[in-house]
């Protein structure tokens, strides 16, 4: 990659963040240069977030249908599955799975609720809430020619 080929496609990175690229100058010497991003990376990053979006949407659907507790929403939003959440909570996976049931979740003790809200860095009140509608995650400013 030559210096003048270093991509500056701002996308997944916020305005003040640059990353270092290795590129060669006119004399063929390697230099470190800042890049604002690269479109192929932005595209694949978007795709990865779409997957997470899908998980969150699925959890919300389950909650609205009365099959899942709000814990399912926060778990998906934090990109966790029952296995990972169980590790953070120090519970067995089986116990976390049980907490995904609305009836069980309603009866949870404050101490357990507090533990979960600490993991997700939210308040206990927020833990019991979930959005009515799917709010799609947006990380990058869509460019003019984007669909």
């Amino acid at each position: 990659m030559k210096i003048n080929e270093i991509p500056q496609d701002r996308g997944m990175m916020t305005d003040d963040v640059y990353e270092i690229c290795y590129a060669v100058d006119d004399e063929g010497r390697y230099v470190l240069a800042a890049s604002a991003g690269w479109e192929p990376k932005n595209i694949t990053n978007d795709q990865a977030w779409k997957l997470i979006d899908g998980q969150v949407a699925k959890a919300l659907k389950g909650i609205h249908a009365g099959r899942l507790s709000p814990l399912a929403f926060h778990m998906a939003k934090n990109q966790m599955n029952t296995g990972l959440l169980a590790k953070y909570a120090g519970f067995s996976r089986w116990r976390v799975k049980r907490h995904l049931k609305p009836a069980v979740f309603k009866r949870l003790k404050p101490a357990v609720l507090e533990l979960y809200s600490d993991i997700f860095k939210i308040t206990m009140k927020q833990l019991q809430q979930f959005p009515e509608k799917m709010d799609h995650l947006k990380h990058r400013k869509l460019q003019k020619n984007e669909d």
Binding site: M12, I20, L32, Q47, A48
Partner: protein
């Protein structure tokens, strides 16, 4: 309290942390040099290890390997500790900071508040240097960010004790003694030897140059075997591993080319300059692969962008890299 630590913006976290820690103690070493001596370049396609239910492809060596091998070759002593207890882990960090020692920590990127939201995935191999503390805020030199950043104690605890695959378990490390004079030539030669051996002679088909060819054969079959949707997901994961995780471009190939160029000056071997150029062109081919791959992800692929065409690019990458490693072997013999 703040240690006078020079933050140098780097492409990759582990090689950045390694070179910055050494630089703090007066060893003038670049990130690329640290990466090269530490034998950072690698290739492995590990379909039995899943990340987000998708096969893992890696362009770099194991976590911690660069730091370990680099310091061993340079004769630098390292103190290294894991913890069970979060309070003890933070106390140990505080004590070292008070003694004026900058401390490297392994963390889970998901919990670091200064990460842009688009980067916030659960990955537990992010390295950074803590070099100061003001109240409950820690001063951090995260090599992949342009400037030093602040991080609250609570968040740092979370990051140091992230759970899941490769959990950092509060790992921290720092340098304890550095030789007075370091001759870079022998470590460079050793590093190159190790790298070549690993890339050419690992007796498993999924590692090294053979691994790249193996992946090429697999990619060809993805659309048929997995269906279009899943094939794209596999591709997305692959490109992200190659480019997103602070590689300096082209899956660390450019960084290695920079190392070879620097090594040419130290070893006074002009043929390394030529090999550096060849490695750069291999990196350029990897970049091409990412471009075509992303076009497929966006449904903008033309006929010439098929999975077969991508497989051919990978085979070309493998050939180019194999040539570089073979010639390197001959140079450092």
């Amino acid at each position: 309290m703040k240690i006078d630590f020079k933050h140098r913006h780097s492409a990759h976290c582990e090689s950045g942390v390694s070179s910055n820690l050494l630089f703090h103690y007066g060893v003038d070493i670049s990130e690329a040099m640290a990466f090269g001596i530490g034998g950072g370049i690698f290739f492995g396609y590990l379909p039995f290890i899943k990340v987000n239910k998708l096969p893992l492809t890696t362009f770099r060596c194991e976590v911690g390997g660069i730091f370990k091998r680099l310091n061993k070759k340079l004769g630098v002593d390292v103190y290294w500790q894991k913890f069970h207890n979060q309070e003890k882990a933070m106390d140990a960090l505080d004590r070292s900071l008070e003694e004026g020692i900058p401390v490297g920590c392994r963390t889970g990127g998901y919990w670091l508040p200064y990460f842009p939201s688009a980067f916030r995935f659960h990955f537990n191999m992010h390295n950074l240097v803590v070099f100061g503390k003001e109240g409950d805020e820690y001063l951090i030199s995260d090599p992949v960010f342009p400037e030093p950043v602040m991080c609250h104690r609570k968040d740092l605890i979370k990051a140091r004790f992230a759970k899941g695959a490769l959990a950092p378990k509060g790992t921290m490390y720092y340098l304890t003694s550095i030789p007075e004079k370091i001759d870079f030539a022998p470590p460079i030669i050793k590093g190159i030897k190790e790298t070549c051996r690993r890339m050419l002679k690992t007796p498993v088909p999924i590692i090294g140059v053979k691994g790249i060819r193996f992946l090429a054969n697999r990619i060809e079959k993805w659309p048929k075997k997995l269906g279009k949707r899943k094939a794209i997901l596999h591709l997305v994961q692959l490109i992200r591993m190659q480019e997103e995780l602070g590689t300096g471009g082209g899956g660390f190939r450019f960084m290695y080319a920079a190392f070879l160029q620097e090594a040419a000056g130290i070893l006074k071997e002009n043929c390394l300059l030529d090999l550096s150029r060849k490695m750069t062109s291999a990196g350029d081919r990897w970049r091409e692969f990412a471009v075509i791959g992303s076009r497929n992800c966006k449904n903008r692929a033309t006929e010439s962008d098929s999975f077969e065409a991508m497989a051919d690019i990978l085979r070309d990458c493998a050939n180019r890299e194999a040539e570089v490693y073979q010639e390197l072997m001959a140079v450092v013999k």
